[in-house]
């Protein structure tokens, strides 16, 4: 297990390192002068020069990369050009929106998709299967932002059940915050749930065709018992894989969804930062997202090992 973990972590660190070089070099190609953006159209040239100096934009490239990496290692992501505050603070402020959003969506999609997938697999070929998989098929095809628009108009504007967007912050209590995240989470979760339900179903069907299911049935175990106690755990392996991949999708999905619902999350932050050429923020957030994907992949691998003793042994 330790060997396995060490190897996974080593690969993760390598991935991060390569990713950091890619991100940094991409960001350095970006055109646009951050100082000019901050001071606006009619800014005086002396003011620009002064600001550039202050922002450390005159230091050579390699040195800037080294500083950046060294800083990140100790949690210092530098200072935002536009907000003039530490990037780590910006990230922390935004993460308290994005993280709950991603977690709620992930939970929501899992809680919906896995039972539906199992249900459909257990009723293969019958009405319940056809209806749920037909719905899932459509769910996969719906762009989440379009779905979000429809949700806003139905639930926020017509029915006025939930806010149309914006985020009141957590200071006013848990409920207003959660309420503001309901529609975005649904918009994010449902298309993912559709995919997950399909994967769960086919994984279950695959497992249900295995010999050991027949062995269990030959032991006299009823169909339902076999479904939950024998099939489910084995079917979890492909489902976990998709869950891991979906996490990356969710993170990306937040960029669009946060824009639709104008939620002040990491996705909005990075989108705005790109258009405002706030390079250091973009770099920091992208690295953070990449790191979380890497971390989730490691967690998925650990979960594999927990589910499957064969992998545990190899580990």
């Amino acid at each position: 297990m330790t060997l396995f973990l060490t190897k996974r972590i080593a690969i993760g660190v390598l991935t991060l390192l390569v990713a950091s070089i890619v991100v940094f070099s991409i960001m350095e190609i970006l055109p646009g002068d951050p100082a000019r953006i901050m001071l606006g159209m009619n800014a005086a040239p002396e003011a620009l020069a002064t600001l550039r100096e202050q922002m450390g934009l005159n230091v050579p490239l390699v040195e800037r990369y080294a500083n950046w990496i060294a800083g990140m290692a100790v949690g210092d992501f530098g200072n935002s050009y536009t907000y003039r505050s530490p990037v780590i603070e910006l990230i922390a402020e935004r993460a308290i929106v994005s993280l709950p959003l991603a977690v709620i969506s992930l939970v929501l999609s899992t809680v919906i998709a896995i039972p539906v997938g199992i249900f459909a697999a257990a009723r293969r070929g019958r009405l319940g299967d056809t209806v749920s998989m037909g719905t899932a098929q459509i769910g996969v095809a719906i762009p989440n932002f379009w779905f979000a628009l429809l949700l806003i108009y139905v639930f926020a504007v017509w029915l006025r059940l939930v806010p149309a967007g914006g985020f009141p912050g957590w200071a006013g209590g848990i409920w207003p915050g959660v309420k503001a995240l309901i529609l975005p989470s649904i918009a994010l979760a449902l298309p993912q749930a559709a995919i997950l339900a399909r994967v769960t179903r086919s994984a279950m069907l695959e497992v249900l065709g295995e010999d050991y299911i027949r062995t269990a049935r030959a032991k006299g175990m009823p169909r339902r018992y076999v479904l939950w106690r024998h099939a489910l755990r084995n079917a979890m392996i492909p489902v976990l894989t998709i869950l891991g991949l979906q996490f990356a999708f969710l993170l990306a999905g937040t960029i669009i969804i946060e824009n639709v619902f104008y939620l002040p999350g990491l996705g909005r932050l990075v989108f705005q930062a790109i258009t405002q050429r706030d390079l250091i923020v973009v770099e920091g957030v992208v690295m953070l997202l990449v790191a979380s994907v890497v971390l989730v992949n490691i967690l998925v691998d650990i979960a594999y090992a927990m589910v499957d003793p064969r992998l545990r042994a190899r580990a």
Partner: protein, 492 residues
């Protein structure tokens, strides 16, 4: 377990406060852009002034709802005969939000800081004429100018000229400290800035207890936010085509005012063949302003024929100088030797008036033989490519600074336009402080531009103010970038 207690208490208070007040004293104002920081003396972003101007920070003077100059921290002033010495009499008993006393020393500090060599003030030009600032006594400030400047009092009313305290100036970006009727409470980045009433305000206290400026980036988000009651007012609503629906809804007050935003089809006069007057005239004849306004994203706007706001007293209607006439445009192009047409690029920054209006313009110019390749650019790229490097043929942009007709006389400006006759008018204007004379000079300047069409004059950007019908005291026009909440209150 203990941690949960304050949270619950906070929640209880929040619930209670939602119902306890009989008279509403809080308001949520929607703003399109999030300010990069909150110090109006260190950035050009209009988003800063929209929140802090007049509410949090005050200057010596203040620009009123119709563009007039009003007294603010200076209760009165005297101007010397030669127009070179301004003596300001300051209010007494004014305190900064951190409790510090306001005095003439703060005025001297603020103005000297703004015009210093290492200043990062984005509008240093406002202070260019100042020779010296003297704090004669605690309530008197004497400013000496190196040359007469007609617009000096107006300039002192800009957000870039607000008075800050030496003690707190460095922290103004994050936690601004001013003298206004509201003080800073909280800034949730990406989401909102909250101001609360300043109980120690020196003047008429504000009616509102709390004002939240919520960042609502575009129409897609603004409309549902307004309709669902999450946001009470948009001083500048990105309403787009949904405006008609809001107008017909009795819950809302819609006021279409004017801004200082002259929207132009900017032309690079330094590039062939746009240095030719005939070509520019042809372009002017090819533009159908009504259609452009209809397709500009909101369907609103006042056509203009030169670079001046119709709301201004000195405005002259010159829209008929080159009326829409595609045949004539083709003829002019043929005469200029471009019978086969011209190919050029049109760089469009992100706002809808540019991105959408630009498509209409491209379609109109195509009909007279000018084929435009549309290149959408982000603000950052627009600033560096178009504005700084002058690497463009055409662009669509709204110039929102007030009274900025002088930009056509700036030698390095991105129009690359040079006209000695015009420059002479501007120079004279700068040295004139007599109102009537100034208006006449403004008229001359407008006419020169209208004839010479250095750019395509399109329309004045509308200020679409939308707010809850029960909300009183919002400004209808926007002579300056601000959301003055001092007079705002809920009816009943």
């Amino acid at each position: 377990m203990k941690i949960i207690v304050p949270v619950l208490t906070a929640a209880a208070i929040a619930l209670a406060s939602g119902t306890a007040f009989a008279q509403r004293a809080d308001v949520v104002i929607g703003v399109v852009l999030e300010p990069p920081h909150l110090d109006p003396t260190a950035g050009a972003a209009a988003a800063i002034d929209e929140i802090v101007y007049a509410n949090l920070f005050e200057g010596l003077t203040k620009i009123g709802p119709t563009g007039e100059v009003l007294p603010a921290l200076a209760e009165s002033w005297e101007v010397s005969e030669d127009g070179l010495t301004y003596t300001f009499k300051l209010h007494e008993g004014v305190k900064f939000h951190d409790g510090a006393e306001f005095s003439s020393a703060d005025v001297k500090f603020s103005l000297d800081r703004a015009r210093a060599k290492d200043s990062t003030n984005a509008q240093k030009g406002l202070f260019a004429a100042i020779e010296s600032v003297e704090a004669t006594d605690p309530t008197t400030v004497t400013v000496k100018l190196s040359r007469p400047q007609g617009s000096f009092l107006y300039n002192m009313g800009w957000g870039d000229a607000v008075i800050v305290s030496e003690a707190s100036a460095a922290g103004n970006m994050e936690t601004p400290v001013g003298t206004g009727p509201f003080k800073f409470d909280n800034w949730a980045k990406g989401s909102s800035v909250v101001l609360v009433k300043n109980p120690d305000y020196w003047g008429e206290p504000a009616a509102l207890e709390r004002a939240e400026f919520r960042i609502v980036p575009d129409a897609a988000a603004a409309i549902p936010a307004l309709l669902s009651g999450n946001v009470h007012a948009f001083p500048n609503m990105p309403a787009g085509d949904a405006l008609s629906q809001i107008q017909s809804d009795p819950r809302f007050e819609v006021v279409i005012g004017s801004t200082e935003g002259e929207t132009l089809l900017s032309i690079n006069n330094g590039r062939e063949p746009f240095d030719k007057l005939e070509v520019r005239q042809a372009i002017a004849h090819a533009l159908n302003r009504e259609e452009i306004i209809a397709g500009n994203g909101s369907g609103l706007g006042t056509p203009i024929g030169s670079h001046f706001s119709p709301a201004n007293a000195a405005y002259i209607d010159l829209t008929d100088t080159y009326p829409y006439d595609p045949e004539k445009a083709k003829q002019l192009l043929a005469d200029a030797g471009f019978a086969d047409g011209i190919s050029a690029t049109l760089k469009l920054p992100p706002p809808p008036y540019a991105r959408e209006g630009g498509q209409v313009i491209a379609s109109q110019l195509r009909q007279v033989g000018i084929e435009l390749e549309i290149i959408p650019v982000e603000w950052a790229d627009w600033l560096s490519q178009v504005f700084t490097e002058k690497d463009y043929d055409f662009t669509v942009i709204s110039h929102t600074e007030p009274n900025d007709i002088d930009i056509y006389s700036r030698p390095d400006y991105y129009f690359d336009y040079h006209n000695d006759e015009f420059n002479a008018v501007i120079a004279e204007l700068d040295a004139t402080s007599d109102e009537e004379k100034r208006n006449e000079l403004y008229g001359q300047a407008q006419r020169i531009l209208a004839e010479d069409v250095p750019v395509g004059f399109l329309f004045q950007l509308p200020k679409i103010g939308v707010w809850d019908a029960k909300l009183e005291g919002m400004w209808e026009n926007a002579p300056i970038q601000s959301t003055d909440l001092t007079e705002v209150r809920w009816a009943e």
